[in-house]
């Protein structure tokens, strides 16, 4: 019996070999030096039937402990309507390659064009690309773009208030690309403007990157930082959450030149970290410096509206070592995910998602403070939306594990004695109260010490 994925029968193989003038399949490898041929056994299990594969993965999945997610830190548990995975499962979308043949790829091309449009409308930017891998790599690409756009400058400033994994990836890319990366410290929960201005005194700063919402969940006021960057002749990059930006001041309104981040917040499943969907958008003047694919509108030979991959002269397959980036495949299907999600949600749905998250997070923070086990982390109350940090009076590092034992992912330790929480529209008042009770029970187990 043939394997279900292999249509060639013995007879097919015999006839095809005959046509090719070979008497064995191995003869097709006659040009391969014999010491390169692998004659050993593969360390793989014997072929499984579909039923056995299903059992195997059901068993693996059951080894994960399901938790109620009250944490963010770069991956947010938002609700996604049933229509989204339904549309994504259409194999006309999922089994297509990159839309090189525009005539039979108008579905992908139009959807990417809609995605580019939506990202522009959310961020207030002029041009958005077809997607990047994830938020962290979109930040690294934004840094390289800023340095390339500045021509001679080679220094880039990042705020230490960015998510730690974003900082790590940016720093890896900077190190290998040869960019001088400077980290501006955090002061009382926000980027230190004094330090930023000092760093901007150096003449060779190509750009500055700051988060709209930082790793403490604090919404930063970017006005002064943007102005300082621009007066130093540096580009300003905002790392942002596109879900939150449907209600918050846009990158365009702040005056940023580039917006980047992760569209995972647009309903994408947590999926142990991926696939998510990076995005990147910029002002018109930097269009030709933007990495990644771009879809543009045009007409076909009959004058009908048609969409194509365009401005490809920027890309690796044309420019090779002179390209602005090496990106080729991106996260196209996840960009479709975000596009379908945003179509369903509309402006009213996005407003409600943010209102529910805001209300839940503020309720939870109040209740947690009321337990007496936590302190406000900063000297003043900082504005936040769905994510916030607190300072436990004790055992900041242990709390997360204790809560996991009680069925929650919450109180992620940030170091510095702080822990973070996040609430989305997926959690109601009762679940928040259950979490508060779990926190109390965890601290009781740790030995009380309420103040």
């Amino acid at each position: 019996m043939n394997h279900p994925y292999f249509p060639h029968t013995e007879e097919d193989i015999r006839q095809m070999m005959e046509k090719c003038g070979v008497s064995s399949l191995r003869e097709l490898y006659s040009d391969v030096p014999s010491d390169c041929i692998y004659e050993g056994e593969y360390n793989l299990p014997k072929a499984m039937s579909e039923l056995e594969v299903r059992r195997h993965f059901a068993s693996l999945a059951s080894q994960n402990v399901p938790l109620k997610i009250f944490a963010g830190a770069g991956a947010y548990d938002h609700y996604s309507p049933a229509v989204v995975p339904y549309i994504l499962s259409r194999s006309e979308f999922s089994t297509a390659y990159t839309p090189y043949q525009a005539e039979i790829s108008q579905g992908t091309l139009r959807a990417v064009f809609e995605w580019q449009s939506m990202i522009c409308r959310i961020t207030g930017m002029d041009v958005a690309n077809a997607s990047m891998y994830d938020g962290a790599t979109s930040a690294a690409e934004s840094m390289m773009m800023a340095v390339a756009a500045s021509r001679k400058k080679n220094r880039f400033i990042v705020s230490a208030s960015l998510l730690p994994q974003v900082l790590d990836v940016v720093s890896t890319y900077a190190r290998f690309h040869g960019i001088d990366l400077v980290e501006v410290p955090v002061e009382d929960g926000v980027t230190s403007l004094t330090e930023l201005k000092t760093e901007l005194e150096s003449a060779d700063v190509a750009g500055v990157m700051m988060p709209g919402i930082n790793r403490y969940g604090v919404i930063e006021d970017l006005a002064e930082a943007v102005e300082a960057a621009h007066s130093a002749g540096a580009l300003f990059v905002e790392y942002c959450d596109p879900s939150a930006m449907t209600v918050l001041k846009t990158a365009g309104e702040w005056g940023a030149d580039v917006a980047c981040g992760d569209a995972q917040t647009l309903g994408m499943p947590l999926n142990f970290g991926g696939p998510y969907c990076g995005f990147m958008a910029c002002r018109q003047e930097y269009m030709r410096k933007l990495p990644g694919r771009l879809v543009g509108e045009t007409v076909d030979a009959d004058g009908k509206r048609a969409f194509v991959l365009t401005l490809q002269a920027r890309e690796q397959h044309i420019r090779r070592e002179k390209a602005t980036s090496n990106i080729c495949s991106n996260q196209s299907l996840m960009a479709l995910y975000a596009t379908v999600y945003l179509s369903l949600m509309g402006p009213a749905g996005m407003r409600k998602v943010n209102d529910l998250s805001y209300a839940g997070a503020h309720f939870l923070k109040g209740e947690l403070l009321r337990t007496g086990y936590f302190e406000e982390p900063f000297s003043v109350e900082r504005p936040f939306l769905k994510e916030f940090v607190l300072r436990p009076r004790r055992d900041a590092e242990k709390l997360c594990g204790m809560l996991a034992d009680r069925g929650f992912l919450a109180a992620l330790p940030l170091g510095e004695g702080l822990v973070s929480f996040c609430v989305t529209e997926k959690h109601d008042r009762i679940e928040c109260e259950e979490l508060v009770n779990a926190v109390k029970s965890a601290f009781d187990a740790l030995g009380g010490a309420r103040e």
């Binding site: 891998y133 007409v299 076909d300 009908k304």
Partner: protein, 473 residues
């Protein structure tokens, strides 16, 4: 395929909404309480459409798309094999999709086991020592691999190695990745038989060379017969040899890159390991290393744990886990007995098409090929019917076009890769159509030059798109 001309924004009517959300019992609290200076002036102009509007719109869009499930997709170097459906179900299991990437290790042991199994199996298939599954795509794997190369030399205090050698037949991502990694790119020529010119390579090798990138079989579908000598030469000068796994498919079950002397490689799970390409991603580009680079893989590493000399972090979390799951399901379905057949079936299919068409298409290098081969356009070029015209005419007949105008070694490159999942009937139909097109090029060239005729849109005006970019609605 029917032409459908709407954009979602054009369906929008004020007041429509395609979602429903609960009342979570928190009262009237809303984010309008935030300082006005932090709020946007106006709501974004997202479409206001009903749920049926959305479903019909995207269903109509999808009907203008061609996928592997639609028909034969002989796109060279892209390995468009069948994407098994069980893999989709596995990747959608709530026990995987609902896991947060920062959960405590003890609560994600199933995911960790997935990483462990796939890493082990990839090691066995490729002959490498360890893998990171974090890179998101082939080009991202290349970049990670080159970072590992640079990192290796720096760890050994070898700071002068700034060059990477790349053959002129290489994929465009090779030189681009090297440049992003801060390397100088040096090109090595191909011989008339399509293989790397070892004599041209020798003088390039010195103590400034960090390594060399190779695709084997190369982009002409030809096995680099001098690979052992090349590996020796590169290693003798202190460099590392990098394997671009885009063309791994024909070698699976027959030849292992590790045994050929490669030190670092990336694989494309969306090519050789059957995960769907999604219209341009998400893919996955795992990177494998040989023994001498052990301990330097990127963080986080769930399988190997803390890497003593890690080169840093290249992804927000641990890669495209959903893609990793699909690739593992595929390997388990194949098992060790079928893995051995895969590469030779793909190779047989390619050689079969080549032999059946070489009398009407120009075959610049006539020797046994691997998973793919390259024609240099039609044999009869008297009517000036180009490779582009042939590609477009194929769309009329219900086939996807091959890769065209790549590799750059020929003017009319037409690169065909059938994969092992296409039946002989499909290959025969394709051969028949390719022969018909060759005839049409002789008898009615204008019809071929103006193709396609039966697709939702005809040839788009790309010049206008680039000259007056309209990139958003």
């Amino acid at each position: 395929m029917k032409y459908y001309d709407k954009l979602i924004f054009e369906l929008s009517q004020n007041g429509r909404c395609g979602c429903s959300l609960p009342d979570n019992g928190f009262g009237e609290t809303s984010c309008t309480e935030l300082p006005t200076a932090l709020q946007r002036a106006q709501a974004p102009e997202l479409p206001q459409v009903s749920e049926p509007d959305v479903v019909r719109h995207y269903t109509n869009l999808s009907s203008m798309n061609f996928g592997v499930d639609t028909g034969f997709y002989p796109l060279g170097s892209c390995t468009m094999k069948y994407n098994p459906k069980i893999n989709e179900e596995i990747a959608a299991l709530p026990g995987f999709t609902s896991v947060h990437p920062l959960q405590p290790l003890s609560t994600v042991m199933g995911c960790v086991q997935v990483y462990k199994e796939l890493s082990d199996y990839l090691c066995s298939i490729t002959g490498m020592s360890a893998f990171t599954l974090n890179p998101f795509a082939g080009a991202h794997g290349e970049l990670t691999g080159l970072m590992l190369m640079k990192h290796y030399h720096l760890l050994h205090g070898d700071v002068s190695r700034r060059k990477v050698i790349v053959p002129d037949s290489a994929h465009g991502t090779n030189p681009a990745s090297a440049a992003v990694c801060g390397f100088e790119v040096v090109q090595v020529k191909s011989r008339p038989d399509g293989r790397v010119d070892v004599e041209d390579l020798k003088p390039l090798l010195d103590e400034t060379v960090a390594g060399m990138m190779m695709t084997n079989p190369n982009t002409l579908g030809l096995f680099e017969t001098g690979i052992r000598e090349i590996a020796q030469l590169v290693h003798d000068c202190g460099g590392l040899l990098y394997y671009d796994g885009a063309n791994l498919n024909p070698l699976i079950g027959v030849v292992r890159p590790g045994d050929m002397g490669f030190d670092i490689l990336h694989l494309n799970l969306h090519k050789s390991f059957s995960t769907p390409h999604g219209g341009g991603g998400p893919g996955a580009g795992p990177v494998g290393i040989s023994e001498k680079l052990k301990g330097s893989l990127p963080q986080p590493d769930f399988y190997c744990g803390e890497q003593e000399f890690s080169m840093g972090r290249i992804s927000g979390f641990q890669g495209n886990f959903g893609v990793i799951l699909r690739a593992l399901a595929y390997i388990l379905m194949l098992g060790r007995e079928n893995v051995k057949l895969l590469g030779s079936y793909a190779t047989l299919s390619a050689n079969y098409i080549k032999v059946c068409l070489k009398d009407c298409y120009e075959l610049p290098i006539d020797s046994v090929c691997k998973h793919e081969f390259v024609f240099d356009g039609l044999k009869d070029k008297s009517n000036e019917v180009t490779t582009l015209d042939v590609a477009k005419r194929l769309l009329d007949y219900g086939f996807h076009a091959p890769t065209i105008y790549f590799p750059l070694l020929f003017h009319q490159s037409l690169m065909i890769e059938p994969t092992e999942t296409e039946s002989r009937q499909t290959l025969d139909e394709f051969i028949k159509v390719m022969r018909t097109i060759a005839e049409e090029a002789a008898t009615s060239p204008d019809m071929v030059k103006s193709a396609p005729h039966n697709t939702p849109v005809r040839r788009p005006d790309e010049t206008q798109a680039a000259r007056h970019p309209i990139l958003k609605a």
